[in-house]
Amino acid sequence: MDEALLRSLTPSVIGVLVRRGADFAAAEDAVQDALLEALRVWPEQPPREPKSWLVTVAWRKFLDTVRADTSRRRREARVGEEPGPGPGEAADDTLQLYFLCAHPSLTPASAVALTLRAVGGLTTRQIAQAYLVPEPTMAQRISRAKRTVAEVRFDQPGDVRTVLRVLYLVFNEGYSGDVDLAAEAIRLTRELAARIDHEEVAGLLALMLLHHARRPARWGADGSLVPLAEQDRSRWDTRMIAEGVDILQAALARDRLGEFQAQAAIAALHADAARADETDWPQIVEWYDELVRLTGSPVARLNRAVAVGEADGARAGLAALAGLDPGLPRHTAVSAYLRERDGDAVTAARLYAEAARAAPNLAERDHLLRQAARLNAALRA
């Protein structure tokens, strides 16, 4: 059973149905039904032509719904029993779906859910499991999202940046369940990059690959988060790093810098260091300067302070930190780190414990608690 193939066919099958006259919401529902049937039937009876199979079954499901819905009689008359020839495979169907599912009128969570279902070919249950919500809740989120974009023309050009935001969210947010959302985000970004020539699409793909390459080293045997400096770099996926670097270099050569390229450049510099102490921090600081210039993001400024601390010493890092809002997420953790490097273990221990109380996730909290405990034990000795 080739689930990857099934997923990759989903957007183009929706495109076929829309071209035959189905509206997006109905087409998407019909294709989801066909997908569920494929998951049931294909293991026993694999189709010779998977795409034709999906189109046939989805179209039948669509007609069934139209017939069942008496209020749609008029549409039935218009659509007809037999599909018209319709234009052939249109390369842009899938791209249009990316735009539609990331439409600016959608909330981020709705755009993520709709993208994963209509472009990613995931089932509602898989998406619900990944985001730890009940299936009916996720089903509602998706149908509301479809109602929100009901008036959007399918052939309307969209803004690729909104699509990139959605794909970044899929990649970056923690997940669970049996679907690897990070790998799924990479697949969807790859598909997008194959359809649209845009330096930030390439930048995001590079960024994802460079971070995904580190994943085997991110978690310790006990399930704890391993910080970048302590990761076993021999476990990084060098082939994935090489691919990410190639994609990034081609994007940077176009000389239209954007935030994803800048972030990818920082990740590439980390990937380039065989040992943590060989990291080219001065160059990383320069990339953070670019990132701050491009985004004005306070988080980028905070990360820049860490890099400055590595490049020019803890004092310089603390000076860079001084101008930032102490209420920023992770501000206290960064402050603790820089204090310790500046030799002030007492303050650092207190700040680590404070940062642990404010940590937004368990892995970070546990890491920060261990840092506080380590310093406190050393101070007692």
Binding site: P108, A109, Y131, L132, P134, Q140, F171, N361
Partner: protein
């Protein structure tokens, strides 16, 4: 998206504005209160923000380990325990602002005289999974 717990207390929360014990309400007021809670949950299901909702009995026991090979010790309930949780709702929303907005609406549940209780609800964020991109 982020998950939040909206926590409702039997006691331990600051006093609500409409502070009449439930057994002093009319039966219709009690029904209206529960209907409001059900409608609220149903509305969150419709918006795709509902995760879970549960109510707890006020009666419970305290249990602790009592050493190898020994049965656990049970005790309580302890009248002096300050916090007594009545129930919760778990929501999955786009922002902290949205969580606060929803908690505000839930706190408007009707009580005595059919007027909103203005009950204090505790809003607590879940500790999420860590993000992948951190530097």
């Amino acid at each position: 998206m982020a998950k939040y717990l909206l926590l409702k207390h039997y006691r331990g929360a600051p006093a609500p504005v409409n502070d009449v014990p439930m057994d002093q309400w009319t039966p219709e007021e009690i029904s209206a209160h529960f209907q409001f809670m059900e409608d609220f949950a149903a509305r969150l299901q419709d918006t795709g923000e509902f995760v879970d909702g549960q109510a707890l009995s006020p009666e419970g026991s305290w249990v602790r380990y009592d050493g190898e090979g020994r049965p656990p010790v049970t005790d309580g309930p302890f009248a002096e325990t300050k916090d007594l949780i009545a129930g919760w709702m778990v929501i999955d929303v786009d922002s902290h602002d949205r969580a606060v907005e929803l908690a505000g609406e839930l706190s408007a549940a009707p009580g005595a005289g059919g007027k909103p209780i203005h009950e204090w609800l505790e809003v607590r964020p879940f500790l999420a999974a860590p993000p992948t991109v951190t530097e």
